[in-house]
């Protein structure tokens, strides 16, 4: 009915519809963009938080010293000056580090030079607190603070001047290299901190005291300080080995072993179920269907006891054995093998090759796409596995995998609220899976939609 009334205005109608199509596409793209912000946004803000000195600051700032390019350049330069290491910084014998700070002095007050100290700071909160590290305060000499210039200024509507001060921190003589050079600059009551060579990590007592975790941080040491701390501060108290490095190593060993086991045994089992003479196949299928529905919370008790009897508790091999051969992967391979032509293997068998040779020489090379999917899905699944790891490994800190390590950090640093370190460790633990996803996204997305529909 409605179409009849406007059908005479044919051209107008066409233009109207075209305009509508364009507008609809615009709204759809807008919606998609908004959704992308919704799904990625939380990770973006958490990443910003992981760079901050205080991720729980309120209100939340989107720009802060660690992401300012001028600080990157200065941190690089200072790291070079302090220890010849522009990435991680430090403080080694012979270093000469010139530093400049400026204070706002309101009108009517005479500027007074701030006092500069290199304080003794503990390595960190949580478990890092017990670590002994070389303290720069024992070796650093601070030159007298000299005034370097004044300029009139208005700050927050207040008349006054900005006074710049210069000093040099040196490491005379010989001694060990300190990992960092903490710095406190304190001015008298009336003066307010204005700027410095490098933006300070903290301002205390209403801007009178500026405090740096390291005045010679290097680029990573300043911008990714929390990330460096993840590796440095959590150490095995007996061996001094970095726990996080150890967990990364464990995670790789467990994930790659599980991939290897599934590549070989899941494809062997899948092939036997798909193609070989085997009475009782249906029984096996029935068992798999039933057991797939049994929650891990039911089976873990017995598995824990089995691994205990085998003396495998607290060992990553115990976890590898329990993860074992995934039923879903066997299904995946079975489905794949059912779809390859029979003639090929028959030809090989007639040639007199035994099934084992046929499988490894003829069948498996054809299965590369399925094996690719299996590799990626298994790696991702095992890398992220938490429950089984917790049951098997909980007692042995050195054997943790990354998810378990994150849980440990959460308990160790959650009390003191060291969120910078916790967020940084979470992001570090994601890197391998994210890389895998970016490179092989096809497998992930298709894997979900097809396997779920077939299941």
């Amino acid at each position: 009915m409605a179409t009849q009334t406007i059908s005479p205005k044919r051209t107008l109608d066409e233009r109207f519809l075209a305009r509508q199509r364009w507008a609809r596409a615009g709204w759809v793209y807008g919606t998609m963009l908004a959704l992308a912000v919704l799904f990625i946004g939380p990770f973006y803000v958490a990443f910003l938080g992981s760079l901050k000195d205080n991720p729980l600051e309120y209100p939340f700032r989107y720009t802060f010293p660690q992401i300012m390019p001028h600080n990157w350049a200065e941190a690089w330069r200072l790291g070079e000056l302090g220890a010849g290491n522009p990435w991680l910084g430090g403080f080694k014998p012979g270093a000469q580090v010139p530093f400049e700070v400026s204070y706002f002095v309101p009108e009517g007050t005479e500027p007074v030079s701030p006092s500069v100290t290199v304080p003794t700071r503990r390595a960190g909160a949580g478990i890092g607190a017990v670590l002994e590290e070389v303290q720069a305060s024992q070796y650093a000499k601070v030159s007298p603070v000299a005034e370097a210039g004044r300029s009139p200024a208005v700050l927050d509507g207040q008349q006054g001047q900005i006074v710049r001060y210069r000093f040099t921190i040196t490491y005379p003589g010989t001694g060990p290299t300190a990992p960092r050079l903490p710095l406190d600059v304190e001015a008298p009551l009336s003066q307010r901190f204005y700027s410095a060579t490098l933006d300070p990590n903290r301002l205390e007592r209403r801007g009178r005291v500026a405090s740096w975790d390291s005045a010679t941080p290097g680029f990573f040491g300043y911008t990714f300080r929390n990330y460096v701390r993840v590796f440095n501060e959590a150490r095995n108290p007996n061996t001094g080995q970095s726990l996080f490095l150890r967990w990364i190593f464990n995670s790789f060993v467990v994930s790659l072993s599980a991939v290897l086991i599934n590549l070989v045994f899941a494809s062997l089992a899948g092939y036997a179920l798909a193609r070989m003479y085997l009475p009782g196949k249906n029984l096996i299928f029935g068992a798999i269907i039933l057991l797939l529905a049994v929650p891990a919370q039911v089976t873990f008790i017995s598995n824990y006891l089995v691994l205990r009897d085998l003396n495998l508790l607290g060992m990553i091999w115990g976890l590898v054995i329990w993860i074992g051969i995934d039923m879903a992967r066997v299904f995946l391979m079975k489905q794949f093998f059912e779809n390859i032509p029979r003639e090929i293997e028959e030809a090989a068998l007639i040639d007199g090759a035994n099934p084992l040779v046929t499988f490894f020489r003829v069948i498996l090379p054809m299965a590369t796409p399925a094996l690719g999917a299996l590799t990626i899905l298994t790696f991702q699944g095992v890398w992220n596995e938490f429950f089984k790891a917790q049951v098997v490994l909980a007692a042995q800190q050195d054997s943790y995998t990354l998810p378990l390590g994150l849980s440990f950090f959460r308990n160790a640093y959650g009390q003191v609220g060291d969120w910078g370190l916790m967020l940084a460790s979470a992001f570090l633990s994601m890197i391998p899976v994210v890389i895998l996803f970016v490179v092989f996204q096809r497998y992930f997305v298709e894997g979900v939609s097809t396997s779920a529909l077939k299941g």
Partner: protein, 364 residues
């Protein structure tokens, strides 16, 4: 039996032996042993004695178990309903043949590939008292006057335009995208003018009051920390479910929508009259997956640790673990097994229901 067949059987057994061995020990035997343990007084170190159904009787009277059961069921229902609906709505919006849509689908999938541990750690930060969520809420409430003005002006402009076009005899829908674009621009300009002239201003940001995870209050009978975990779960699961829906939507013929559009059905009518019924089998699958997944939720609760009080977030899966490893009476394997079997029973019921209703891949 022929010799060749016997050889093949031998090889087949060899091929499948490692898998069968694993299946028997770590799944079959483990399941059977859990059933047995649930009928005994097994601890972590003693030899079990048969106690009949005493563990189950204990569970029915245990406040914490009942709490966990109640939380699990509430969690499962709420999360499944919300995430199924949202995933379906998103899939319907994204079911377009547009350039770059694969890129967006890939991006949406990111939250679901990451480890629950990493995501939960980030979520706990997110839900802190001065964490990002409260920042965002405070910002929205501070800018509410401006946002409401913008929304109101948009609806007003759209209403005026639609009325105008209709008075000219054009059958435009209230959601007409071209007019909405104009309305949005008009609303943006007017709002900017109003806020620049100071007629509408933002309020100052307030200090946060709600500490999500340490809250002891309930909302609709569910503790607030559990709501936080629900939000987290919905956030990470929606993308997966959305992709399943999208795969299902590919099979709905475009011609049905075109026919409906010619008959004058608007997008919302099309969604409820075409999309929803055509997707019934896929929806059923999604609901089943979702029910099973949420019922067995463990990682998030375990990682919360002491960030939230245990009684406010405990669910069945965690109750089981807690009874074996964390309890005051260490290693209560018998009771844990009984609780785990309750969990398994609920899972079986869901799977059984799916099979009973006969929804399988053949349906579509």
């Amino acid at each position: 039996m022929r010799r060749a067949q016997r050889t093949e059987l031998l090889y087949a057994l060899m091929f499948i032996a490692p898998f069968l061995l694993y299946l028997l020990i770590f799944h079959g035997f483990a399941f059977a042993r859990a059933v047995y343990f649930s009928l005994t007084d097994k601890g972590l170190f003693n030899t079990p004695h048969f106690v009949g159904l005493r563990n189950y009787a204990y569970l029915i009277q245990d406040d914490r178990f009942l709490l966990a059961l109640q939380h699990s069921i509430a969690y499962t229902l709420v999360v499944t309903v919300i995430q199924t609906f949202l995933a379906l709505a998103l899939a319907a919006v994204l079911n377009q043949r547009l350039k770059g849509i694969t890129f967006f689908r890939t991006v949406y999938y990111v939250p679901s590939i990451l480890s629950s541990a990493a995501v939960t750690v980030i979520a706990i930060w997110f839900f802190q008292k001065t964490g990002f969520l409260n920042n965002l809420l405070a910002w929205v409430s501070a800018y509410a006057p401006i946002l409401l003005t913008l929304g109101g002006l948009f609806i007003l402009a759209q209403g005026v335009q639609v009325g105008w076009e209709r008075s000219r005899g054009l059958p435009v829908a209230p959601t007409d995208p071209a007019l909405a674009t104009v309305s949005l621009l008009v609303a943006l300009v007017l709002t900017w003018v109003l806020s620049a002239t100071g007629l509408v201003t933002a309020r100052p940001m307030t200090e946060p009051t709600l500490a999500w995870l340490s809250e002891t209050n309930s909302f609709l009978g569910i503790p607030i920390p559990l709501w936080a975990i629900m939000m987290l779960n919905i956030f990470t699961t929606i993308p997966t479910l959305m992709l399943i829906f999208l795969a299902g939507l590919q099979d709905v013929p475009k011609s049905i929508y075109e026919a409906a559009a010619i008959d004058g059905a608007n997008p919302i009518q099309q969604f409820f009259r075409i999309t929803v019924p055509m997707l019934r089998p896929v929806t059923f699958l999604v609901v089943t997956l979702s029910l099973i997944g949420t019922l067995q939720m463990y990682d998030q609760v375990a990682l919360m640790g002491n960030a939230a009080s245990l009684d406010s977030i405990i669910v069945l899966a965690y109750f089981v673990y807690n009874n074996v490893f964390n309890s005051n009476v260490p290693g209560n394997v018998g009771i844990a097994s009984a609780a785990a079997l309750v969990l398994a029973l609920l899972t079986f019921a869901i799977v059984g229901l799916q099979r009973l209703l006969g929804i399988s891949e053949k349906s579509y």
